[in-house]
Symmetry: C2
Subunit: 342 residues, 2 copies
Amino acid sequence: MPLKKRRVKLEDIARKLNVSIATVSRALDENPRVKLSTREKVLKMAKSMGYMPNQIAKSLSSGKTNIIGVIIPRYDEPFFIEVCRGIDDYAREHNYKILISSSRNSFEFERDNLIAFERGLVDGIILSPTHETEIFTHIKNVIQQGIPVVLFDNIREEVQGADHVLIDDDKASFNAVEFLIKKGKKNIAFIGGIIEKKVFQDRFKGYLEAMKKYNMTIREELILHCKSLDREYEDIEIQNFFNNIPIQPDAVFACTDNYGLLSMKTLLKSGYKIPEDISVIGFGDLGLGEVYVPSMTCIAQPTYVMGQKAAELLIKQFNEPNEPHLKNVIKLKTKLVLRDST
Amino acid sequence: MPLKKRRVKLEDIARKLNVSIATVSRALDENPRVKLSTREKVLKMAKSMGYMPNQIAKSLSSGKTNIIGVIIPRYDEPFFIEVCRGIDDYAREHNYKILISSSRNSFEFERDNLIAFERGLVDGIILSPTHETEIFTHIKNVIQQGIPVVLFDNIREEVQGADHVLIDDDKASFNAVEFLIKKGKKNIAFIGGIIEKKVFQDRFKGYLEAMKKYNMTIREELILHCKSLDREYEDIEIQNFFNNIPIQPDAVFACTDNYGLLSMKTLLKSGYKIPEDISVIGFGDLGLGEVYVPSMTCIAQPTYVMGQKAAELLIKQFNEPNEPHLKNVIKLKTKLVLRDST
DNA sequence: TTTAATAATACAAACGGTTGTATTATTTAA
DNA sequence: TTAAATAATACAACCGTTTGTATTATTAAA
């Protein structure tokens, strides 16, 4: 193992060629201010000496890091990973890298991550707030520093100066439930999550709206708002719900993919035939819905596109540094992916 | 929206308090060289002015970015995401951030990412080589620059100077197949992947070893080496295999989670009862195996721990900058998670 | 007191680039 | 040939920190 060699820098090249650092810098930039023959000499020498520009020095000097900071609530959810893919692809095409941080579903972590990014590490931030996040001063602070911010997914409150990328939860649910109704379903169960959360409120709202529009009876006994955050306990809640249900539902609209799958699991165990006896629709089209037997009909979110859009909005902000930037709000459409469970 | 304000820097604080920049810097560092009363003044002023240190300047000056670069072949594989979680948790505890890059399963991208990291953005690199990666000069270059490197998962060849974190594929397969044999299975099918790849070679090796040890007849007709890289085509290959199989297998050992699930899907469709007629074991414990009906017995890899170990080794390298660093190789144990499919 | 020792602070170089301006070399026009 | 115009390059400040050394203020010892 050879000794670690000191990095080659502009100065080293300059000295060897007996030119100034400035000339070397410009030559490497293909700046027309340096003579062609000089440029070639410099490029050749740089190559032969194994020159690697120092990104940190560049950033300090230019005030740009070409890094986008991304904060997601968790890594182990395909939804966020897909969004990150979208961000990454778009970013890479525009010469940006992404620095992903997980807030571990904790407000504290979210704030800490934001503060870390605020230290000049990133040119802008794409953030999906945790469900815990109720105040937004930490985000507003960042914006006030002049750092561009784009929010996506779980947005409880619009933030002045930040762009927003959302899906239309309300409408998506409405469409799914409408679809069930039009198929002639009478007793459509609703499986939602903690009702304090905006997502679940909106999805519930869509359910109610569709039911009302078609004059369906809304039965409390067919509605479950899961309270648990823990996967394991969700399972139990859903089992209890279906095992003690006083009316036989003929359809289930579940507010997450997992709720849908857990429902199917329980229903199959109880002897229901899917889709003969009962139809099931889940929300979100990632993970297991497709390979499960039977495969599950889902509301597909344009996850990847969401990431792309977020990156696009952010980079747009980079390129118009003349404030004040107000906000763009993009609402993306979902679509119903029909499978065996309906 | 107020105007973007210029960032507060040490100089601003220094000027206000009529002290030198050095003193301010040291005061914020709690350096005992500054008087307590001065330090307090500085801290107070820094806070009231909303001072945020500039990470880039710090990095340039200190030569440390406190960022770990991570390169994985793809985002949309739970395996890598879990490893990243492990890396991130360990890194965060030791005051490092991670910058994740995907090589999109392409050697070119892998090399490009590596070069980007080489520009001084990261203090060290954790890399899982793509299946395409056959030469390692790009990695050796990085190591020669004195940048610590840890490799994990798909390592075809040990690289001098880099640490390695692996699982014992051979033994894991051996154990799984041995388990099936001990359950009295006679016709154990093997579903592997492209046999040129080291992983699949090792897993096949484990299968053969177990079969030989227990004097089982090895039948070519029960062995499939999938050729496809494409999920969709995998499905077809596996369907064809089982639909045309001349002998009824009573067990399947599949080299990936997905192969296992696809096998189950096909077998169920063909009327097999699992586990009554046939047992199935998959490799990898992430994703669907658990929720599938029936749930699938799997070889669980210590994915999260793998990430932690990788981060640990890397940070260890940071702390012993006296070369030459040779290499550490860590082989992690798997375990068989029993479920309904066996 | 006056000096020596030490505490507190200031100065300035360094990290490795970028970029505006000054300077020198070369070409063009008179 | 020489002045003016322009091309090529050099100089030096700057980005915001850290840190070794020099300087000044304070305290302790003689």
